[in-house]
Symmetry: C2
Subunit: 349 residues, 2 copies
C-alpha cells in the first residue's frame, strides 16, 4: 500500500493506492453515511457484485460524449429523487467522465455534499481523480463548466487496470509521460520523478503502482501549492492547449485524451525547438520517449488552422484572447508563454 496526502487550501485528504483495495472497500468508507454510487454501464457489467452492493446506484452511459449537460441533469435529478441530504456521501466509481461529473454533482447538489473518488482507469488514477477539478463538456469545448471541489479521499485499486483495454492504458500513459516532462516544476523531491523510471522501463511490463504513485505525488505537489490554477497549476496543461483543439475538432471521438495530449506534447516540442527554446538532443529524446510507448504515431491532423487556433483561444486558461501555452525549455522544465507568434504556432499544426 502506498499513501499520499493532498494539502489543498480548501481540504486535506489522502490518496491510497493498493492492489486489491476494492475487496476491503468497507474499511475505507464511513459507515454512518447514506451512500450514493455513481458509475457507468461498462463497470456495472464488469463488476456487478461491487456495484449491486450499493442500494443507491446511479448508472450513466460510458463514454466522453455523455460528459454533458444532459447527463449532469440526470445525475442531479436522481440524487434529489432519492432524497440526498447534506451529510450523505457520493462515491464516484469510474474513469474521468464519471469522476468529473459526479464531482461536480457533489459540489452542486444541495450546494455541496462529500464525495469519494474511486478511479478505475489509469488516466483517472494518475490525473483526473487528483486535484479537485470537476465538470463537463459543452459544444464550445472541454470542461468549460464545473467547480474546484476536493474529494474526501481518493481510493486507487490497480486491479481495475486488468480489465482496462490497452488503448485506455495508453491514454493514461500520455499523462504519465507528461509528468516526466514537467517534473522539476512540480516538486524538488527527486524520489518521485518519473523520467528516472520511464527512461529504463519496459513498456510491456510496467509497475503501475509505482507509476501511479509518482504521477499522483507530482500532481498533488502542484495542487498543494496552487489549488485554483492561479499560476503554477497551469504547467499541468502541458500538451493540453493543442490537445483540446484536437479533441474538439475530431468531436472527442477519433483520439483518446491521452493520445491527444501525446500529440499536443509533440507539437509543443516541435514549436519549442523551432523557437530555439530547446536543443535537438532534448527534442529527439522527447519524441523517442513518446514513441517508445507508441502514444502518438500521428500528431498533425488535417484541419482548418484558423479554427484550430480559435479553439486554442477559447481555452479556460486564456487571458485577453491570447493563446496561453506551456512549452518545454529544458529537461523536466516547462514555462508558460502567452506571447508566442500565432504564425509560428500555425506552422507546426
Amino acid at each position: 500500500m502506498k499513501k499520499l496526502t493532498v494539502n489543498a487550501k480548501t481540504k486535506t485528504y489522502d490518496i491510497t493506492i493498493k492492489e486489491g483495495l476494492i475487496a476491503e472497500i468497507s474499511d475505507y468508507i464511513q459507515h454512518d453515511k447514506k451512500k450514493f454510487l455513481i458509475t457507468n454501464d461498462t463497470l456495472e457489467k464488469l463488476y456487478p457484485d461491487l456495484v449491486n452492493n450499493f442500494e443507491n446506484k446511479i448508472v450513466i452511459k460510458d463514454g466522453e460524449e455523455y460528459k454533458n449537460f444532459e447527463t449532469f441533469e440526470f445525475i442531479i435529478n436522481e440524487l434529489l429523487k432519492r432524497k440526498i441530504e447534506r451529510k450523505d456521501l457520493i462515491i464516484a466509481l469510474g474513469g474521468g467522465v464519471v469522476g468529473d461529473l459526479a464531482g461536480f454533482a457533489a459540489a452542486s447538489v444541495l450546494r455541496g455534499v462529500n464525495f469519494v473518488q474511486i478511479p478505475t482507469t489509469l488516466l483517472a488514477q494518475v490525473d483526473s481523480s487528483v486535484g479537485g477539478k470537476t465538470g463537463f463538456n459543452t459544444k464550445y469545448g472541454k470542461n468549460l463548466i464545473g467547480a474546484f471541489y476536493q474529494p474526501e479521499s481518493v481510493l486507487i485499486d490497480t486491479n481495475f487496470l486488468k480489465t482496462l483495454p490497452s488503448r485506455e492504458i495508453k491514454t493514461g500513459l500520455g499523462e504519465v509521460i507528461k509528468y516526466s516532462f514537467i517534473e522539476k516544476k512540480c516538486s524538488e523531491d527527486r524520489s518521485i520523478y518519473l523520467s528516472d523510471y520511464l527512461d529504463k522501463a519496459d513498456p510491456n511490463s510496467l509497475n503501475f503502482k509505482e507509476i501511479i504513485f509518482r504521477s499522483a505525488a507530482l500532481k498533488a505537489s502542484v495542487v498543494s501549492k496552487d489549488e485554483k490554477e492561479a499560476g503554477l497549476r497551469a504547467v499541468l496543461n502541458f500538451g493540453h492547449t493543442f490537445a483540446h483543439s484536437i479533441e474538439t475538432i475530431t468531436n472527442y471521438k477519433k483520439y483518446t485524451h491521452g493520445e491527444a495530449v501525446a500529440m499536443g506534447m509533440k507539437l509543443a516540442f516541435e514549436l519549442s525547438y523551432n523557437l530555439n527554446f530547446i536543443d535537438k538532443e532534448y527534442f529527439d529524446y522527447a519524441f523517442n520517449l513518446i514513441d517508445k510507448f507508441e502514444l502518438a504515431p500521428i500528431y498533425k491532423i488535417e484541419c482548418d488552422k484558423d479554427e484550430y487556433i480559435n479553439i486554442m483561444k477559447s481555452d479556460k486558461k486564456v487571458a485577453n484572447s491570447k493563446i496561453r501555452i506551456v512549452l518545454p525549455i529544458a529537461r523536466g522544465e516547462v514555462k508558460i508563454f502567452d506571447d508566442i507568434d500565432e504564425n509560428k504556432i500555425k506552422k507546426v499544426l
Copy 2:
C-alpha cells in the same frame, strides 16, 4: 451612502447602498475587465439605457418559473459563445432569480469568474444578494442545486424600488420582518436591530435605505460567522421550512417568496405557542407586526398534510430525514429544533 463589509471566509467584500448609485455605476465597476450583463426582460424594458450600455448582455425571462436548468444552460452557453475568459466580470442586474442564476453561472463557468450583484428588488437587496448563496430550482424543490460563491461587491440603488410593484415591496418586507424576529441571534449590535425601527414605522412611508442597511447588516453578520450554513446561518431560515413547502405545493405561483415566508413565520409562531416556547403576548405581537404590513392574510393552505411534511423533510438543511425547523423562543431570539413531534407540526398546517 451607507457601506457595509461582509467578511466571509472565502472573500471579503463591500455592500454599498445609495440612492442614485446606478447613475454613477462606472465609478463602482473595474474598467479593465470585459463585462457580461445578465438581466431580465422586465428590466430591459424599464431601464433600456442602462441595459444597452453593455455590449455583452444576456437577457432571461422574468419570473421564478424560469429559475431552472434550462435557463442556467442558456446563460452558460451564451457566456461561452461570447468567449468569456476567467478574468472577465459578470454583472447580475435583477432580483433573486437573476442574482441566483447569474451567481451560479459565475461560480461554474470556466470553474469560476468574478461577479457583481446589482439587486433591483427589495427582496434581493435585503436578502438574496448578500451571503453568496447561488443556484436554481428543480422539480424536487427550491434551490436544490447551486454553490456558495461570494460576489466581488454588492451595489444597491434604492431608486430601483420606485418601479417595483407594491406586491414585490411586500415580499421583501417578509424577509425584513424575519430579521426583526431573529436579530438577537444575528448580532449584538443594537444599532442595526430592525424591531426598533419596525415597531414605530408607518407602512406607508418607509425609509428603505435604513431598512436595507439594517437587514443587510444583520445578514452580513451571520454570514461572516458562518458562510456555509454549518450552524448559525440556519437561523436565517426562520419561516422558510414551511415556506418551501407552501411554494412547492402551489408551484411557486400563488404566493410570492416573502408572502410564503410571512405565512411560514405565522405557522412557526403558532407552533411555538402550542409548544409553550413563547407566551401569548409575544405571539400576539408577532401576528400584529406581520398584519400591520399586510403580509400574510392567509397562512394555512389547503393541501395533503403528508405531502407538506414530506417536502419539509426534503429541505437541504435536513439531517437524517428529520424536519429541522427554526422556532421563536423569545423576543428577537430563535432556536433550531430537529426533534419536534410531526403530529404537532401537522396540527398547525
